[in-house]
Amino acid sequence: MSEHTEHSESSIPVKHIIGFIASIVLTLVAAYTTVMSGLPVPWIIAIIMILAVIQAVLQLVMFMHIAEKNPIPQYGNILFGFFIAAVVIAGSIWVMSFGMSDMDMNGGSGEEHSDH
């Protein structure tokens, strides 16, 4: 086991505190926007989704050391994962949006399949 302790004694790194406070602020802003702002619903959804993405990036950079100098760079995989995730979610919503207006006229009752 190695013994060296060349690091300073500062207990909690500033980076983590900034990340933590920023996450709490972003969460509260998102909650406030949803409940109190009174904006049109599409705007609310757009704003809180952007806030969520910012917060996720914050987690990756501040806590998960993604940008850290590693022997092998690690962000490629996770970025590709997020790309696939965005395609799957946006693609599903987009492709399933066709014909939705017909379904709404039936009160959405066409969705009640009984499980096999």
Binding site: M1, S2, H4, T5, H7, S11, I12, P13, H16, G19, F20, S23, I24, T27, A30, A31, T34, V35, V41, I44, I45, I48, M49, L51, A52, Q55, A56, Q59, L60, M62, F63, M64, H65, N70, P71, I72, Q74, N77, I78, F80, G81, F82, I84, A85, A86, V88, I89, G91, S92, I93, M96, G108, S109, E111, E112, H113, D115
Partner: protein
């Protein structure tokens, strides 16, 4: 880098090539997890609002509980970050203390989630109630299952750290559970936003 080379400097978990490769492999696993959750989010989004005869979500979702769960998980992600920081300073005691706090906060989150699920089922919204509630319980339940797994895993790592101490191997294992725990918080951010917040306005 030769096969069994061990560096003398730098973070413990990266000193052996095995540690570096394991951590890279874990990032690939996390990318796959992102895609797994994306399919559940897509299902949820497509089935959104299809309540059938069951209670609609806006009548059941409550901001205080959703916020409490979010803050518990956010704080646990923060304390987990400090735990890894302590590990990098090679302070075993600091690492164990902060990991235990992380564990306690994770258990608190799980407690809220179980309470929430039981409450919903009593209000007539179970996984069988409607398309919407199936998607809801599958998405949040999968995340809850990951948290449960993370808690058990973290407990095992703590036991190993107490018994073996900090070595490149235990440091690598601790770093990996740290990544997993932060990842759970990343997923929760999107559940909080896409499920709870949007469920309250639409």
């Amino acid at each position: 880098m030769s096969e069994h080379a061990e560096l003398k400097t730098g973070p413990l978990e990266y000193r052996k090539e095995e540690g570096t490769l394991t951590i890279l492999g874990f990032w690939i696993f996390l990318a796959a997890e992102v895609v797994l959750f994306s399919t559940l989010f897509a299902t949820y989004a497509v089935l959104f609002g299809r309540y059938g005869d069951a209670t609609p979500a806006p009548e059941l979702f409550e901001m205080p509980i959703a916020l409490a769960m979010t803050f518990l998980l956010l704080t646990s992600s923060f304390t987990c970050g400090i735990a890894i920081h302590m590990m990098r300073k090679e302070s075993l005691k600091g690492l164990l203390i902060w990991l235990s706090i992380t564990l306690a906060l994770g258990l608190g989150f799980l407690g809220f989630e179980i309470y929430e699920f039981v409450h919903y089922v009593h209000e007539g919204a179970s996984i069988q109630s409607s398309a919407f509630w199936s998607a809801f319980f599958t998405l949040t339940g999968t995340h809850g299952l990951h948290v449960t797994l993370g808690i058990a895993w973290c407990l095992l790592i703590i036991i190993q750290l107490v018994r073996v101490g900090l070595t490149p191997t235990t440091a690598r294992k601790t770093f990996v559970i740290g990544l997993y725990w932060h990842f759970l918080d990343v997923v929760w951010i999107f559940i909080f936003t896409a499920v709870y917040l949007i469920g309250m306005v639409v």
